[in-house]
């Protein structure tokens, strides 16, 4: 089970998103470093009465940007007593080219296209994901919903409010059953 986010994901976190998060959690900026390449953030730890420190990278062009974001998450994990993935899911505004396995929980009835709601695991937790589907994926989604099959889909995950939207869809298949649209034949896959 993945418990630590990889550098690819860490580098998608914008500095101002982490700044806003730190501010919300009672951290304060204490100064800037190296011509605004980074900032020093502090918070008093009530239990030890010590000052905690995070060095926040401000320029995504820094060679160690992802590593420093990772360091910040490690500190937050200890301070907030919750997993980095949990914290990350609060910070994440989008993830590009992600593959998700999910179940279809809602379909907005339409002619041949519409919005489908899935529930899948994103960043270690079940999340609601909405997708706009056309044919033939829309038919697949209906089948998945009716027959309680899970789907695997790939695209860019973008956070909108309290749920996610999957855009730039480039894959949408049913799991466990290979449904051939051309021949209308259902074959079971060997897993």
């Amino acid at each position: 089970m993945i418990t630590v986010p990889g550098n690819e994901i860490l580098s998608t976190i914008e500095p101002d998103v982490l700044e806003a998060y730190l501010r919300k959690k009672g951290w304060h900026e204490r100064g800037r470093l190296y011509d605004n390449a980074g900032a020093i953030w502090r918070r008093r730890d009530e239990s030890s009465n010590e000052d905690l420190e995070i060095l926040l990278p401000l320029k995504k062009s820094l060679g160690d940007y992802a590593i420093r974001i990772g360091d910040a998450l490690k500190t937050l994990e200890v301070v907030e007593k919750r997993s980095q993935l949990d914290i990350l899911s609060d910070l994440l505004t989008n993830v590009t080219n992600v593959e998700i396995q999910a179940i279809v929980t809602d379909i907005q009835v339409s002619n041949s296209s519409g919005t489908v709601t899935l529930i899948g695991i994103v960043m270690g937790n079940f999340r609601k994901i909405n997708i706009e589907l056309d044919e033939p994926e829309y038919t697949l989604a209906i089948k998945a919903y009716q027959e309680r099959l899970s789907v695997v889909c790939s695209g860019d995950l973008i956070k909108e409010g309290s749920y996610f939207v999957l855009k730039n869809l480039h894959n949408f298949v049913l799991v466990g059953t290979h449904y051939d649209l051309a021949t209308n034949v259902t074959r079971s896959t060997q897993c």
């Binding site: 470093l33 420190e53 160690d64």
Partner: protein, 134 residues
């Protein structure tokens, strides 16, 4: 696991400058004495390591080259009174060094004055604590 040429990361407590916990990242190399000249060591650093060490980073990076005797038997001497470890490290910062046309290694100069001692490390961390560079 990400190989960014950093072998060791140090975070010190009790920084007296704006940074309470100054950090330093080290790339460590070990070699025998045939790279030593009068004022410098000339160490052939792999291109990838060279580029990873000169990039702009928030936590400063230095290269430390540890010299050891050619003869394995001379590395360590243990007697009742003492344990003698024969090696001396030298350090250099490659920050802002220029891009190279080399394809496999870059010869890096480490000044012999830059001995990597406890005092040297302490003053490097102090400079970092005040927002400076090694």
């Amino acid at each position: 696991m990400d190989d960014n040429s950093v072998d060791l990361g140090l975070a010190a407590r009790g920084g007296t400058g704006p940074i309470l916990s100054p950090r330093l990242e080290l790339q460590l190399k070990c070699t025998s004495r045939d790279v030593v000249e009068e004022n410098f060591l000339r160490y052939p650093l792999k291109l990838k390591n060279y580029n990873d060490s000169r990039i702009s980073t928030l936590v400063p990076r230095i290269l430390v080259v540890v010299l050891v005797p050619d003869n394995l038997a001379d590395w360590l001497h243990q007697r009742e009174e003492e344990l003698c470890l024969r090696c001396c490290g030298y350090w250099v910062s490659l920050r802002e060094m220029s891009e190279t046309q080399n394809s496999s290694t870059v010869t890096v100069e480490l000044p012999r004055l830059n001995r990597f001692t406890v005092e040297a490390l302490q003053s490097i961390l102090q400079r970092i604590s005040f927002g400076g560079f090694p």
